[in-house]
């Protein structure tokens, strides 16, 4: 109890983050794997504290564009990183793809699984959760796949827009929607609540890029980017279901 009181008091008393802190803005789908990698990175680099900022890739880019003090940016798609590149927000030489993922349709675990995108367009499926395409890369992949299948207008009509891919997962887990589009790594986190109905072929491969933010002067930033590509970090990512880039 006393330790908790002390901990809370420290939080209240402490000011801004110390200069040595490394701030990593990462796509929401990386949450669990990156938290583990962060702990391992801190152990390997004594004196460096890693703090994460998880959200959909779109808002993370907006924050960096408006001058948020971020050192490393990892997005869930190439498009967001391309925008960061065009706006000169990241150091191009440090950019690298570090994992791949796949887009899947999930349904609540106790429901019969839909078999195809066409099934989702049927009246029996009333609401489908999708990340808002303007904000969430998973939503953008979904929209492109549905447009290619000629189903976007019909499924958009029953779309429940979510702020991150993890919100989609939550909506499906609570059975508030009949189906949702998430990454296979997200679906694997809740095997008792959601099940994968089928994998969605995407126009472009789901490849995650990482880069050092241009405004960062933290020497640990490049070390973190290198660490994410190292065997120990890749092993953590593989354990959460991410594929090789």
């Amino acid at each position: 109890m006393l330790r908790r009181v002390v901990a809370v008091s420290l939080v209240i008393a402490s000011g801004v983050a110390a200069a040595a802190d490394l701030t990593v803005s990462a796509a929401a789908s990386l949450t669990n794997a990156f938290q583990q990698i962060g702990t391992a990175f801190e152990a390997a680099n004594p004196g460096t504290k890693v703090q994460f900022n998880f959200a959909a890739s779109g808002p993370l880019l907006q924050q960096i564009a408006r001058g948020a003090p971020v050192d490393v940016f990892a997005s869930a798609d190439q498009e967001t990183m391309n925008q960061a590149d065009q706006q000169k927000l990241v150091k191009p030489a440090t950019r690298a793809n570090f994992v791949s993922n796949s887009l899947v349709v999930v349904v609540p675990a106790d429901r019969p699984a839909t078999k195809s995108l066409d099934d989702l367009a049927r009246p029996a499926v009333r609401q489908v959760a999708i990340g808002v395409p303007a904000i969430v890369p998973a939503g953008r992949y979904t929209k492109a796949a549905l447009e290619k299948a000629g189903l976007w207008p019909r499924i958009e009509a029953k779309m429940i827009g979510a702020q991150t891919v993890r919100h989609v997962l939550d909506y499906v887990a609570r059975a508030e929607v009949d189906a949702g589009f998430v990454y296979s790594t997200d679906a694997a986190l809740m095997p008792d609540k959601v099940k994968i109905a089928f994998t969605v072929p995407t126009e472009q491969p789901v490849l995650y890029p990482i880069a050092v933010v241009a405004a960062s002067s933290n020497a640990a930033a490049e070390r973190f980017v290198a660490y994410v590509a190292s065997p120990p970090a890749q092993a953590v990512l593989a354990r959460y279901g991410f594929g090789k880039p």
């Binding site: 779109g58 907006q62 609401q127 808002v132 303007a134 904000i135 702020q163 609570r174 508030e176």
Partner: protein, 229 residues
């Protein structure tokens, strides 16, 4: 400015007004009833009930949103029953947004109603009763008119709070354009997506509406709005 974003802004404004008006109407009935009960009834645990009814004012909206999701969601005990027997769904509907807004705004009406009823001279009610009015008639013709000013001030604050509701609404009703995407949620989403043009339009619209509400409030209940006495 694209006319599409102008349309989106007006739709969001209309929705915000609709949700806030319904929430205020709901709070008018429930808040006045609860305020009257707290002011006039003597029962054990009255102050505890008062505190619990005030909770939405102090609890973070996300906590309320989570409670609501657990209770009225499809898997929640109330939500499951509502959908199973009445076919009513609250999550991801504008009615859900009304419920969230009504709960966060409830304490404003309840608190001011209680104070207003406590300020009514009981002798006036007794006089009306002696002159032959029934209990219900005394309430509607004597007590309520005497307490009305205070209740109205509470209602205006409740409306303002409901109009700006964000956290609980987003959790319960989501962000569906034209259905549950109120002004405050539309601002959030426009900023997230980097649509500054739309965000600018939305915040100007929101600010203008709030100024209009405050001007109206000053006209209706000039003595009761804080800072205007």
């Amino acid at each position: 400015m694209a006319s599409a974003s102008l349309d989106a802004a007006w739709i969001a404004l209309g929705l915000s007004l609709k949700v806030a008006l319904w929430a205020t109407a709901l709070d008018l009935v429930l808040g006045v009833a609860a305020g009257f009960a707290l002011a006039r009834l003597r029962f054990p645990g009255r102050e505890l009930v008062d505190s619990i009814l005030l909770l939405p004012m102090v609890l973070p909206p996300t906590v309320l949103g989570y409670y609501l999701l657990v209770v009225v969601g499809r898997r929640g005990w109330l939500g499951g029953w509502l959908e199973g027997t009445l076919g009513i769904r609250l999550v991801f509907t504008w009615q859900g947004a009304v419920l969230a807004a009504a709960i966060v705004a409830f304490p404003f009406v309840c608190k001011s109603a209680r104070a207003a009823f406590e300020g009514v001279d009981v002798q006036l009610e007794q006089a009306a009763h002696v002159l032959g009015l029934g209990k219900v008639a005394v309430f509607f013709r004597v007590t309520l008119p005497l307490a009305w000013r205070g209740i109205l001030a509470g209602l205006l604050l409740a409306f303002a709070r409901a109009f700006g509701e964000f956290g609980a609404t987003l959790m319960v009703a989501g962000s569906i354009p034209g259905k549950t995407q109120t002004l405050s949620i539309a601002v959030y989403e426009a900023v997230q997506a980097g649509q500054d043009d739309l965000a600018n339009l939305l915040v100007v619209l929101t600010s203008a509406t709030c100024v209009a509400v405050l001007l109206l409030a000053g006209r209706i209940a000039p003595m009761r709005i804080p800072g205007r006495s």
